[in-house]
Symmetry: C4
Subunit: 465 residues, 4 copies
């Protein structure tokens, strides 16, 4: 009891999401079934009726529960989740949703039972239309799902398709409803409306079965909505007006479907086409500049590898939208372990390492690329994240092999070697290698803030030599 | 009187906008009603006729008023609103609009009354077509509305739909007009044109009512324009030509509708999809780098919060298109009150504070994020705009609570503390916090221009210690 | 004679463009008329025949002339127009176009005259199909026109529409041709093909006139190509195959039309929607930060003014794609006269002024904006390009009025005033003002390269004081 | 033998691509032929049968070979191609593809032969549907082709068209299959399904030929899929359901085609429209600023030249996505030879030249442009890549001509001339010229790393003077 008294939904929590999902099911049930029950009378009779009754009551109970739950949905104020129930209730009762929700939990079921004995046949399910007003929960659930899903594009296609089907379903129900109810059977039945359900001798024909009724109506609805338009010509005034409106809606729906799918296709290809564009431009450029076949192939293979490895984006581009602190945490998470492997930095204080970690740049080398050559000016050191590299002499002999966790070039970084800041050996990537690179100026910049580290580093470097 | 002599419309004022709206109504009336009156003769008879007469005269009076008003519409010259009536009149009379407006206020009503007794039936309303030439006012009004409305996307959909309906309406009128007037009734009536309005016995059938005439014509028009094409086959040469032209226009209209709606959908999603894209890339990156579930969740929640708070854009991105002075005013408006709360700056002169205000950066912290940790190098100070933060000891004890208007880190900014520029405590965000951050280098930069402030700040800092 | 011997077309000249236009007319004539003559036999008889003969010969002469002209079309080598006729001929003769052009000037006219007496009726015009191969000239002309026109978007719509019409025209001709020629008249004529042209009594019916033939065929073609599809069902095998292919092409054409128009609409709105986006974000931001109504209005009005003045883009954005030298020339053209008005710079050498000109920034002030306030730190000087400004005392009194060509703030630029670099008066914009602003650091930077100018400026400033 | 034991496919090699192409052919064969054989019984009889048998066996052998080949497809681990067959086999056997491939090589041929004598007629080819599961090889081949082709946009159109045709082919087969098999012939045959193949007298009519069957079915399929919809109305329940589903799929396919083509058109024009945009903005700007006709023409011609030369993109934009080392290699490849032509640098060490090479900027000058004028401050030197330039005296006399490989301005770069760093002559481009420009600050920056080069350069410069 105490639990229920103090329970408050965190709007970002999983439990709230599951609750939304359950409520959405109830709303969807009403959205699909009510129009069908209004249009097709036989659904209100016999076994069906009992089924609907049970599910109706279940859905209504969920609606009522959701009404009470709505008093306990937390919100953020000054960045903190408000959990004071009085405050939550007050906020809910001031919102528009409160009145909509009250309207949607009106006990129409009871009015329905009452009406069943008194009024014309199609009123009862119609009165349940008030249940539609919980629509806002469905929207909320859909938004939340799009945020949570790992395949948002697919989800958008599914949503779009569902909306299209829903509109067609309603239109089908409306068509049959109008055909049979409003236009009560008269002698010269227009060929536009649903065909007569009895043959000349008064026996029910094939159009009398419920499945056929729905199939024909849905087929009719699909034709109008997709601008295919193969249906019978209208004959009466209202039929002309109805068709014109349906056609206009149909064109809008069709245009939305085409627009949305075009949009989705564009998005699907966006990554790939940005990538392809860069490659195309490079190819064009290399053609224009007569770059040799060999270099061309290496560059194309490098792009291939990048695409195959799925990291077609720059690390910096991805991270730049995060606030500085989260960027730092991300960098620490990803790189700090790598940096700590370097002996040189083993005695450095943590803050200094974090400052360095933020400066590491990711680089990919293709097979055979020289990372550095003997005699080059050394402006950075490298740490091997993944891959295999060879230290080679001038004559190509392999002197040593470097692999995951190795590092090199730290000497020129500190200006302590006897060759000044020149590289003392060639380093060549054997396969594809992922390296992290630390630039000299970034190190010097960090040392400005941590001057005492300068000595620590010098000492470590001297010991290594 | 004097008022009217000197009154000049400011083209950016509300009153001018309202005047445009009224004129647009008159133009729209002519656009809709004239083609209908040309096509459907019965609209020119009986009660209808009197109604049109009254509204026609009203519309014509508005046209004339607008003609005179056009002499008094101010314009900008060298950045100033010109209000010299002579100059305004001269400009108007030199413009194309002047001749168009004169043409559109020709007293066609009188010619109409005169013509009524002499010519064939369809000429009179046709002669009012000159009223169409005030179209440019409708365009001006639409442009202005799009600028002023807070839902420009919705407005564009409405405009598009209105244009589509208008074209269909005209096509419907044209269809009926051509069916009955140009092709005078002959024996072998083509089934393509509007059906005969009398049955075999010469009595009017259901096609004889005005509503039916319009409904059938509009239905026909909708079918051609939406490329549904369920109408009767043409039979005569002119029918083939007419249909081919209508089909081509129909395809163009259909393509425009699809294109525009696709465009609108793309724009609607643009914000969301840019946002989603960043999140998707981040998720991909975090997967690739094996970032822990915990950090992943914090980052996703941070994005959720950002989206929920509706500030998915960077402050700098929004403001950078403003000229420097407006940027400054905006910053002063938003941040100056915040900055003045800081005791440290209480004795500083206003120009100096404004210089600082332009440098404040906005940052959002999620629950549990450390804003700074003891021993870190302090490079900035923070002012709490909104939220709650805790100052904690190394063992996690909360030493103090900071909330809206508090500030911290000012000591390291001035290098006056005994710990150098190291942080002296941990500060952790309890909920989501909005902070403004002032970087040390920005302060130093501002002090270059206001050297005398250096002493004021030092003094204030010393007192605080 | 000598002129013709040495005449060479400059491919970027007007005369070459006009020549392309004339040739394109001849190509278009062949594209439109040949299929019609193949399909509709009556076009090959009587008066028509003479007309075609004359135009054919004219077109053929143009083709031949173009063939010779092609030997004299200059091209760029190492950036220079090659005018050596031997070299030009060699290049042309090595190109693919040479063989295509030879093929297209084959004297089919003569073969045609010869064939007229011998072969079946539809061969002659068919043999002229070789004239289609000059198509590449039409493409070249279209490209050139798109470059030269001031309404490229409209031109693209026209091109697209023309292509669509052309395909429909060909399809119409093909339909009639297949209907009458390949499927020679037999008893059980399929209702899919063109209706019989004689009635039951053997007299020509309404389908026998040439206009009707073309109208019906074009109507049929339009229906298939726009996916409207109201035509008769096919009956024969070849009809099914033909229709399926036509439908597939139709869908592709339809999709291209929709895609192109969508594309054009997107482009048309691109400028406006980028602009609207910025304004929307600003409105959102100002709402979020509770910016006062007054500042909001000023900002919105500033945007309105910018849009109305059509300079919604930044000067730098536009110019940055030009090479440095052209940028400099542009800046000199636009600003140098303005800068020379400033007395201070009257004795400066030209190179120095040009260096300054490149640094001028354009700024727009709204009515009532303060350009500078007394006591502010002066970091730039201003030159009034257009507009009116007031120098005001602290109590708001107007001390002086500045207008086009005035300048102020030059004192603080040179640090020679007695108030240091503080502003000595308020300057307020009366209407909208266009100012150019020269920053202190840009001046100092320029003085590094022209050290002797420092004294000149100091001297000028001292004199002014 | 030994070769086969150790052979491993490099997934980026040509041979693997060719193998993929062969397998794709086999998969395509199954995709196209199996549905046709299921639907059209006659394809299983007579000569056809033998043909299928042979090709089936061939395809199955390829499938089996591919199964074994899949054990030997190398993959990258830590950037190196893994060639250890045990490891490769293990990886394949753990993958999903392994089970799919096993399923797809099941000896359905044998079951088929067996079934032929026992079961109903349509089972045998149906059982070959397991061959569809090799679909993933087709996808892999398509991806690889898109990467390798030089016309990726065209390839995408072809792929899209193929998919559309494939879906139509399947739908056609399904239509005929359902028409004849599931709905076994009964008295009141619905007019929706395939027409009866025998006439009233029991003789086969024109619908009985295989070609006609397929043509009619494909025609029907095309109509539904393109939303043209001219087919017979459905009559039975299943027909309504079938049509509704087909219509929905049709709309989705149609929308995808429109979306994809729209997308492709956008991409096709992207380059051109970005370029056009810049030019349009420039024209607008020049109009706004009243730039003289002469300068306008020079700027427009410069853009024309750029477009004609196909290098509408900036060198830096293209290269910036490459890793630093590849950028360097590209620059070395393109520019080093040019730089070595400069005498000044002939004695410089290679590392220094490479450092310089990375700083060269590409510039294009139009005819008549001055590259530098006498008396200007010299901040860069120029090397002529291509084109012709004139050194002119103040009175316009040409003093010298520079062409490919020449360089000038090196004096001011080193501050050794007697005129300080002023230009000593005018240099004017005669035609269009491609120059490389080396800025003074870049040279100084490089000299920081190679201090000993300073003397070498000074010496070289002194000798030249």
């Amino acid at each position: 009891i105490n639990f229920f008294c103090h329970f408050v939904f965190d709007p970002f929590s999983d439990i709230y999401y599951y609750w939304l999902s359950i409520i959405s099911l109830a709303v969807l049930y009403n959205f699909i079934i009510i129009p069908a029950r209004v249009a097709f009378n036989e659904l209100e009779q016999g076994d069906f009726f009992t089924t609907w009754m049970v599910i109706d009551i279940l859905a209504d109970v969920l609606y009522v529960l959701d009404f009470f739950a709505s008093f306990r949905i937390g919100f953020l104020e000054r960045g903190l989740l408000v959990t004071d129930t009085a405050q939550l209730s007050k906020k809910y009762m001031k919102s528009m949703a409160f009145y909509i929700d009250i309207f949607s939990i009106l006990p129409t079921q009871i009015i329905y039972a009452f009406a069943l004995s008194h009024t014309t046949k199609f009123v009862p399910p119609l009165i349940r239309l008030s249940k539609f007003f919980k629509f806002h929960r469905l929207v909320a659930w859909n938004d939340r799902t799009e945020c949570r899903t790992s395949v948002p594009t697919l989800w958008r296609v599914v949503t779009l398709f569902t909306i299209m089907l829903m509109v067609m379903h309603w239109n089908a129900c409306l068509y049959y409803f109008v055909s049979t109810t409003v236009i009560s059977p008269k002698e010269n039945r227009s060929s536009f409306i649903y065909p007569p359900e009895i043959d000349d001798e008064g026996n029910p024909n094939k159009f009398a079965s419920t499945a056929m009724k729905y199939a024909v109506s849905l087929y009719w609805s699909t034709q109008t909505m997709t601008t295919i338009g193969e249906m019978e010509q209208p004959e009466e005034l209202w039929e002309y007006v109805y068709m014109t409106i349906i056609f206009l809606i149909g064109v809008m729906i069709f245009a939305s479907v085409v627009g949305s799918i075009g949009n989705i296709i564009t998005n699907l290809r966006a990554n790939r086409s940005v990538f392809q564009d860069r490659l195309d431009h490079l190819k064009e450029y290399m053609g224009y500049r007569n770059v040799g076949k060999d270099l061309q192939n290496r560059i194309i293979r490098w792009f291939d590898y990048l695409w195959a490895q799925n990291h077609t984006f720059e690390e910096e581009d991805v991270l730049k939208y995060l606030p500085d602190k989260l960027q730092a945490e991300m960098a620490i998470h990803v790189h700090l372990a790598t940096l700590k492997q370097v002996e040189l930095f083993q005695n450095c204080e943590s803050g200094f390492l974090i400052a360095l970690v933020l400066k590491l740049k990711h680089q990919v080398y293709s097979p055979g690329d020289y990372v550095c050559r003997k005699g080059d000016i050394g402006r950075e050191m490298f740490i091997v994240k993944q891959g295999m590299l060879q230290v080679t002499a001038d004559d190509g002999r392999a002197l040593a092999t470097l692999s995951d966790g190795s590092y090199f070039g730290e000497i020129s970084l500190l200006n302590v070697g006897k060759n000044g800041n020149r590289r003392t050996a060639n380093v060549r990537s054997v396969g594809y290698s992922d390296l992290f690179c630390l630039r000299k100026e970034d190190l010097l910049h960090a040392l400005n803030d941590y001057p005492e580290m300068r000595e620590v580093l010098k000492e470590a470097a001297r010991q290594k030599l």
